[in-house]
């Protein structure tokens, strides 16, 4: 192939040939022989290479062919030092790759907008009140959090919604949705469970989502009569409905009620918040009939269970709409409130990226991770700068030679910059691979364990940004060594050379060492973080829950959504417990209202009647055998009995630690009160009949006070917990069989062993520990490479000096100690610099730790120990090599 610059080259040759031809002819005409004429012509023309060189400088493609030369030369240099090259490219690839993966995750959770048109127009509707507004709100369902000394909640009554929706016509489109509920479904004759969310008919039109297949919901779907149309998520369609277009129009039963699949959402619509697991959307009126049968939730102004989302018309702002909403809101209540100051007030929140709960929860941990991975990138860049610097210094003689031969300094700098660009390109290309793999692994890790239910996809734009930033950083880092490496008096270096004695020692703190020091300091932070979070995870995992966590398995059961009603439920639960107890390999079976070790749960303040002291307690309704699964004996009194359950007796068994809070003795037969809210409203009374040992009930992280009450045997759902005598996996088929014999259409919801469940609720800690551990190891690796590189390079420069020392009688051991001391001193200085950094960063991770301070002496000791061992290794190899130098050889080298 002929490039413009190669053509120019041959043109130039031919042009000069032509000139010489004429000159030769001229001399021949003057009477010289042909031979003589050619010689004279060449002499008259002068140095043709010089002319060519000057012409090349004038050429349009000069810079390009120069670049090509630089690149060829750069590649040769890279091949000549494969260790440095590999280390630099790996550092870059890992640094950029890890950053891109984490930033993709941050983007998915923190920044991504809802995939709808004009997301900026969306606002979330909340209300704030100093306390729960009992006068106007009975039950509530939704999420609420403490804010500004009161509560901020997102649930409204349906009548409030309807009035606000109608009153805002033209200014904003208001829609309502409920919390998704798990329901039993049946499709194609197969029972299953799915997350179902009831939404107002205008939900999808307000959001502006479009269907992948079929149609979405509209207001007509609220009308009674006709088949109930549902919309399913793309994921549900592919996984459960087989991903076939024929699914549209086919029946799907929810809680035994037949519906029709009306449409499939676009895959880009992930739901209302990142990680929204809603699979089925159903219109509000039919939805509440199916999910909440027999209740007047849509007409009761005291039932607040609907969350609102509005799309403002263009030109409207939240500030303009809020007072209008507030006025309608107040007018929609069942009563007027006695104190205006306690009235709930509407607050509007930006809804462009959907609901904020996940963002709030993961904001801090993700920012910490982002900071750490950023630090890792800086370490990687410093590492590369250091390697380049070392190499530039090693090549000083070459530079000096080139400068003295007339090469301009600019040209040398350009050469070095080309080399760092080559590195950046190679690193950038491999970082794409790393980022792709890491993002995939991270996404899988997260999706599989449910630590953070979002889909992480590698965003090419993010990769580009990371690549460009690093490329720029690298050029900057490359420029420094280039500038330094070429700033020299050529003569002095040619004369003195690298072998001169005492040269390296003369400058104790050169740039390379300072960079290395910074690198060690930053590694202290990363290694420390890794150790702290690993210890944190270990300390939670090994916490004694107060019972044997092996051979325990549990699952949810929802007879209430599979056709069992009212009076059929108590005998159903009784039979289920009996049948399961008969299964070979099952030693204990118990039922509970709330799943154990699943965070959350039913919490109340509990105190003795007549006394103001109360404590937040975890309350769970259980069968008599449930407590026996965990602990064989009661501390005092009796257990819950079957009779208690049958009679719905108001009795309670309290945990030993709660009893101790109440003063220990004489508690049996006394009345326990459940109180609610900041005003301690009485919400139930129980007679204490027994005291049970304290066990962990909601997580390993805390051991809350616990109150056990008789199971509500008319509840639509319960959790079954079994203790097996063999590993649960061996007994599970028989358990499935036993349930199927009672009712083939009844799904076992989420079968999981206790150990898996405990691991599941620790996912966030595990994700953190794993990622931080990975970062720590990477940082350590990079530091070892950096330290080794600098030491090995220093040794090679000082080999003559060491040779002289050895020749003059220094023992190999002295040399070993001398070199080791130099490396370790450098590492120690870095560590000393790193400790204050750790101290500064401690407050950001404190929130993520359980029963552990970020700055424990043991963590410090481990960190410094690990780094010291790594530095010993990194400095040890060059030291060993130095001590084994043969004096004669080194002296002869130069």
């Amino acid at each position: 192939m002929r490039f413009p610059w190669t053509r120019e080259e041959s043109d130039l040759d031919r042009e000069i040939q032509h000139h010489l031809h004429h000159l030769t002819a001229e001399f021949a005409r003057q009477g010289h022989s042909q031979e003589e004429a050619r010689r004279l012509a060449h002499r008259a023309f002068g140095h043709s290479d010089l002319v060519k060189e000057q012409c090349r400088d004038e050429s349009r493609w000069a810079w390009l062919s120069g670049l090509r030369q630089d690149a060829t030369f750069g590649l040769r240099i890279m091949r000549k030092s494969p260790v440095v090259t590999t280390a630099a490219i790996l550092s870059l690839a890992l640094g950029i790759g890890a950053n891109t993966a984490i930033v993709s995750l941050m983007d998915a959770v923190l920044w991504r907008d809802l995939p709808v048109p004009e997301p900026r127009q969306l606002v979330l509707v909340n209300w704030w009140a100093p306390e729960y507004p009992r006068e106007v709100a009975g039950g509530g369902r939704g999420s609420a959090r403490r804010e500004d000394g009161g509560m901020l909640a997102d649930f409204f009554s349906f009548p409030s919604f309807e009035k606000m929706r109608d009153g805002l016509t033209g200014r904003a489109s208001l829609t309502a949705y409920t919390i998704p509920q798990q329901a039993s479904i049946s499709y194609d004759g197969r029972p299953n469970v799915a997350q179902v969310r009831a939404v107002a008919g205008n939900f999808f039109s307000t959001l502006g989502t479009s269907p992948r297949l079929g149609r979405l919901l509209h207001d007509n779907d609220e009308a009674a009569g006709g088949p109930v149309s549902i919309v399913v998520s793309h994921r549900f369609w592919t996984r459960t409905l087989g991903g076939r277009e024929e699914a549209i129009g086919r029946p799907l039963a929810i809680n035994g009620q037949t519906c029709v699949v009306g449409g499939v959402l676009d895959p880009s619509f992930f739901g209302l918040l990142p990680g929204d697991n809603t699979e089925i959307y159903v219109a509000m009126a039919p939805g509440m009939r199916i999910l909440d049968p027999g209740n007047d939730s849509l007409t009761n102004a005291r039932f607040w269970g609907f969350s609102l989302l509005a799309r403002l018309a263009s030109g409207e702002t939240a500030e303009q709409v809020r007072p209008v909403m507030q006025a309608i809101f107040v007018s929609s209540w069942s009563a007027r409130m006695t104190y205006a100051a306690k009235e709930p007030r509407i607050r509007l929140e930006d809804g462009s990226s959907g609901l904020g709960s996940l963002r709030r929860e993961f904001r801090n941990p993700l920012l910490v991770l982002g900071g750490l991975v950023g630090l890792l990138l800086v370490i990687a860049c410093v590492n590369i700068a250091n390697l380049l610097l070392a190499r530039a210094t090693a090549r000083r003689r070459e530079f000096a030679m080139r400068i003295s031969l007339g090469c301009s300094r600019m040209r040398l700098i350009r050469q070095l910059l080309t080399e760092s660009t080559l590195l950046a390109l190679a690193g950038g290309a491999s970082s794409v691979v790393v980022a792709y793999i890491t993002a995939g692994m991270l996404g899988e890790f997260i999706a599989e364990r449910g630590a953070l239910p979002v889909t992480v996809t590698l965003d090419i734009r993010l990769l580009a940004v990371a690549g460009i930033t690093t490329g720029a950083a690298l050029l900057l880092f490359g420029l420094f060594p280039a500038w330094r490496g070429t700033r020299l008096g050529a003569a002095s270096w040619l004369k003195e050379g690298p072998g001169s004695i005492g040269h390296a020692a003369r400058r104790k703190w050169n740039a390379g060492r300072l960079l290395l020091l910074a690198q060690v300091a930053m590694s202290v932070v990363l290694v420390m973080t890794a150790i702290v979070f690993t210890r944190n995870l270990k300390s939670i995992e090994t916490t004694d829950p107060g019972f044997d966590r092996r051979n325990l398995v549990m699952f949810g059961i929802r007879p209430g959504t599979s056709g069992y009603t009212g009076e059929q439920l108590p005998p159903f639960y009784q039979t289920l417990e009996r049948r399961l107890a008969e299964v070979a390999g099952v030693s204990h079976v118990g039922l509970a209202g709330t799943k154990p070790m699943d965070l959350g749960g039913w919490w109340m303040q509990s105190g003795l009647a007549g006394e103001t002291e109360d404590h937040q307690s975890f309350i769970n309704g259980v069968t008599p055998t449930y407590l026996q699964i965990y602990t064989p004996r009661m501390v005092a009194g009796r257990n819950i009995s079957m009779l208690d359950i049958a009679n719905d007796a108001k009795v309670a068994v309290i945990s030993e630690d709660l009893a101790r809070q109440f003063g220990g003795g004489g508690l049996l037969g006394r009345t326990l009160e459940f109180r609610d809210g900041p005003n301690r409203t009485l919400s139930g009374q129980r007679i204490i009949v027994g005291i049970a040992p304290a066990i962990a009930v909601s997580s390993l992280k805390e051991r809350p006070f616990t109150v056990w009450v008789p199971l509500d045997s008319k509840s639509s759902h319960a959790t079954v917990v079994l203790r097996t005598t063999r590993p649960p996996a061996q007994v599970l088929p028989a358990i499935h069989e036993a349930v199927a014999r009672m009712d083939r259409g009844l799904p076992l919801v989420e079968v999981i062993t206790m150990e898996e469940q405990i691991a599941k609720i620790l996912q966030r800690e595990r994700m953190f520990a794993t990622l931080c551990g990975g970062f720590g190891i990477l940082a350590l690796l990079l530091t070892v490479v950096g330290l080794y590189g600098v030491m090995a390079y220093n040794m090679s420069r000082r080999s003559q000096e060491i040779g002289v020392r050895l020749a003059l009688g220094a023992l190999p051991n002295d040399v070993l100690v001398m070199v080791l001391r130099e490396g370790l001193l450098l590492a120690a200085a870095g560590m000393a610099t790193g400790v204050p950094l750790v101290w500064l960063g401690a407050k950001y991770v404190e929130k993520e730790l359980y029963e552990m301070k970020p700055l424990e002496p043991l963590s410090f000791a481990l960190t410094l120990g690990v780094l010291l061992a790594a530095s010993l290794f990194a400095a040890g190899l060059p030291a060993l090599r130095a001590s084994r130098l043969q004096p004669l050889q080194t002296l002869r080298q130069e």
């Binding site: 042009e15 032509h18 002819a25 012409c55």
Partner: protein, 109 residues
């Protein structure tokens, strides 16, 4: 001291080349020869400066080149003036005349 070939005044080479090329397509050797002949052998252009100058003028778009059969011998690269080159030549000549007459005035004062 006999009359010797004069070195070119700095910056005049481009002008001479432009002027020579303006008389029709001509190759590098021809340019050097023509300058030598028309200056009555006073001005000798060094090949070392001629070719870089030609390439520079070509890159600036003042002259253009094409390969042609020369009368005898191999293919030669013939240069001719572009329109931009003609404008530039007029300007340069104008400037040079003013410059040299100014020098003349000073020297004759």
């Amino acid at each position: 001291m006999q009359a010797k070939k004069t070195d070119l005044v700095q910056g005049t080479l481009d002008l001479l080349v432009l002027k020579t090329v303006a008389q029709g397509p001509i190759h590098g050797y021809g340019i050097a020869q023509r300058i030598l002949v028309t200056s009555r052998e006073m001005l000798q252009v060094q090949q070392g400066s001629l070719y870089p100058a030609l390439h520079r003028l070509e890159r600036k778009g003042l002259i253009q080149a094409e390969w042609r059969e020369s009368g005898n011998g191999p293919m030669a690269k013939y240069y001719s003036l572009t329109e931009a080159g003609q404008t530039r030549l007029r300007d340069e000549m104008e400037q040079w005349r003013r410059y040299s007459s100014a020098i003349e005035l000073v020297l004759e004062s």
